[in-house]
């Protein structure tokens, strides 16, 4: 229980820090982005100008604490400001449209990548001395070193341009009605390349992690005992080796979620996939700070929650953690 409570506490505190960062970053930056922005936007509506001022805290009449308090309240209410680039739509609405696409693409790809990677990693460790294992490991080390977005570009070039098998970007064909089987098919078709990019580039990390964990576990004494007992290899591989090797993997999974999500965002940008990532990209170009911050908040919250889920999973899988906490 103590473990659980600690993890929840950490989650809430981290969320709090993320929100606070969101508040202070625009107010702390060198240079003067606010005036910069205002100058650039000659002749915008007064309401828009007002929202910029509020976002940047240029209303220096109010003490900082008050502004902070108001900001916190707004966040809790779900009011994240007005989007500049899609004025006057509130940010929360803009975000709401993009979130399902991102959850679908990045969420699913990450999970698939984790499972495939883990299984391959187990195989690479179990068959450590085979050439195929060495080759796989080497191959993925190389692949992993390519920037995510670059792999996306390569895939587009090969499969959408050179051999126009798959669509270049977007989440579904604009010619298809937004419902029915055709729609689903189109969505899947458009998701193949971006998903593959994420899966291929992040799989390497899981493979290597799991392989190393397995190798360490296979050297443990309880594996020797299991062999001495004449247990079937399948059982040893699964319940004695893999189950123990998974534990640090899941911890690693939680910790690297941030990176994976980052990579996913880039993939969206490259493929023009209308998720949160692309939105962030557009927000940057349009200098829509309110939207940018909201996206940052959303992503942080998502990663923190996913982390928390991973922590809980460990608690369920590792009896030692249940009893004492690590």
């Amino acid at each position: 229980m103590k473990y659980f409570a600690r993890k929840i506490g950490l989650l809430l505190f981290a969320l709090f820090v993320a929100v606070t960062l969101n508040f202070f970053i625009p107010r702390m930056m060198p240079g003067d982005p606010a005036s910069d922005l205002i100058d650039k936007m000659q002749g915008i509506q007064p309401e828009a100008l007002e929202s910029i001022k509020v976002a940047f805290g240029i209303n220096t009449d109010e003490p900082l604490i008050n502004q902070y308090g108001k900001y916190l309240l707004n966040v809790l209410k779900g009011d994240l400001g007005i989007s500049l680039s899609r004025f006057p739509t509130p940010v929360s609405e803009v975000l709401g449209v993009a979130i399902p696409w991102t959850l679908g693409l990045i969420g699913l790809s990450t999970v698939i990548s984790f499972f495939i990677g883990t299984i391959i990693g187990i195989g690479c460790a179990w068959n450590r001395n085979k050439k195929s294992a060495t080759f796989t490991v080497g191959f993925f080390i190389f692949i992993r070193s390519f920037p995510y977005f670059w792999l996306g570009l390569l895939f587009i070039y090969l499969f959408a341009f050179k051999m126009p098998v798959l669509p270049i970007g977007g989440s579904y064909s604009p010619f298809v009605k937004k419902e029915g089987f055709d729609y689903i098919l189109s969505v899947l078709q458009h998701a193949i390349l971006p998903a593959s990019t994420i899966i291929v580039s992040s799989m390497g990390a899981w493979i290597l992690t799991m392989r190393n964990n397995m190798i360490n576990v296979l050297a443990e004494d309880y594996i020797t005992v299991a062999l001495a007992k004449g247990l079937p290899l399948k059982r040893i591989k699964a319940l004695y080796a893999a189950k123990n090797a998974m534990l640090p993997s899941i911890t690693g999974f939680a910790m690297s979620l941030g990176f994976v999500v980052g990579g996913g965002l880039l993939t969206e940008m490259v493929f023009g996939y209308p998720g949160v990532g692309l939105m962030l990209f557009q927000a940057i170009q349009a200098k829509d700070y309110a939207l940018m911050q909201a996206i940052f908040l959303f992503i942080s919250a998502a990663v923190l929650i996913a982390n928390f889920i991973a922590d809980v999973s460990i608690m369920l899988l590792d009896p030692r953690v249940r009893d004492g906490g690590k």
Partner: protein, 327 residues
């Protein structure tokens, strides 16, 4: 084949393949074991006893292997057995009790699961029957039944060791190899475990090969004693013979290294020096550099076996074929 003989090891050579060559951790070892007999194997760290234990169960892995020799168990030459065939005897006829200090229990499975999976691997017993047997053996080692669903980290060191013993017994094997089963435990717990092993042996009459560096444990409970040094058995015989009439200087050195509870206070002896490199062992007697009775021939030639009496033999130049003591 002698009906009473359960294990016959002849000229066993086993060790580790490394880049520079082959390390002979077990160098031409031979001994026999009868039904219900207790053989103690004593020697210092690195003398090859663990390699011997693992070798007998064909558990050597990676670069560790059996180079040559014969292991005849229950009338079968198991050194040539495939892994599948070996699995049929493993745990059923021959089992092993590992050191509790080792991470011998899987941390993510309950004790019960780890006890019963051995049963499921070798029989078609139902869940209830298996659980019943597991509870039976837990009772034998004085562990309460409610521990069936406990995880290893919830048990003390002594309890874990007793679980290992229970695990070794669960399929009623003919031979149990015990590798330093009391090493990490305090003396009181050691005593309990040793006594427990005695009781169980009386009841079930299984043979035991007990491996340890602590000779004091073995003298009371062993039937036979083998003293191992640098990959070779240097002295072997009935426990009482080896203990009371030690022949080899190394054995004498070991006997002198632990104080007796009674009797006059003696000056303690240790044995200076350290064991030789097993990659390129010396030509002569391996104990020669540390032996205070070493003669010239000791460094040049490996001593021939001298059989003193009914199954008490020693490899030492101090004794020649005629039974005379040299030097």
């Amino acid at each position: 084949m002698d009906n009473n003989r359960i294990l016959n090891v002849a000229n066993l050579v086993a060790g580790y393949e490394i880049k520079k060559g082959f390390v002979k951790a077990v160098d031409n070892v031979s001994f026999t074991l009868n039904k219900g007999e207790f053989l103690g194997i004593a020697g210092e760290s690195g003398c090859g006893k663990s390699t011997l234990a693992y070798g007998l169960m064909k558990l050597l892995k990676d670069n560790a292997l059996i180079k040559s020799g014969i292991i005849n168990f229950n009338g079968n030459d198991i050194q040539s057995y495939s892994n599948e065939k070996m699995n049929q005897i493993r745990w059923v006829d021959m089992s092993m009790v590992f050191q509790s200090a080792m991470n011998a229990l899987n941390p993510v499975l309950t004790i019960g699961e780890q006890l019963t999976d051995a049963i499921f691997a070798h029989t078609n017993d139902s869940k209830e029957k298996a659980k019943g047997r597991a509870l039976e053996v837990l009772k034998l080692v004085d562990i309460s039944a409610d521990r069936f669903d406990s995880y290893p980290h919830q048990l003390s060191g002594g309890m874990k060791q007793r679980v290992m013993i229970a695990m070794g017994l669960i399929l009623k094997p003919d031979l149990i190899i015990m590798d330093e089963p009391t090493t990490a435990l305090d003396v009181v717990v050691q005593r309990t475990i040793i006594e427990k092993i005695q009781d169980l042996r009386k009841e079930f009459n299984f043979s035991v090969i007990f491996i340890t560096h602590d000779l004091s444990l073995l003298v009371e409970i062993s039937d036979k004693l083998a003293i191992m040094y640098a990959g070779k058995i240097v002295e072997y015989g009935k426990a009482s013979d080896v203990f009371l009439h030690s022949l080899h200087p190394y054995t004498k050195g070991l006997m002198n290294s632990f104080p007796s509870l009674t009797g006059p206070i003696k000056r303690m002896g240790g044995i200076e020096g350290k064991p030789p490199d097993l990659l390129n062992p010396p030509e002569g007697c391996r104990f020669a550099p540390r032996c205070e009775k070493a003669m010239e021939i000791c460094f040049k030639e490996y001593p021939k076996t001298y059989v003193k009496s009914d199954k008490h033999w020693v490899d030492c130049h101090l004794y020649n074929k005629e039974g005379n003591v040299n030097g």
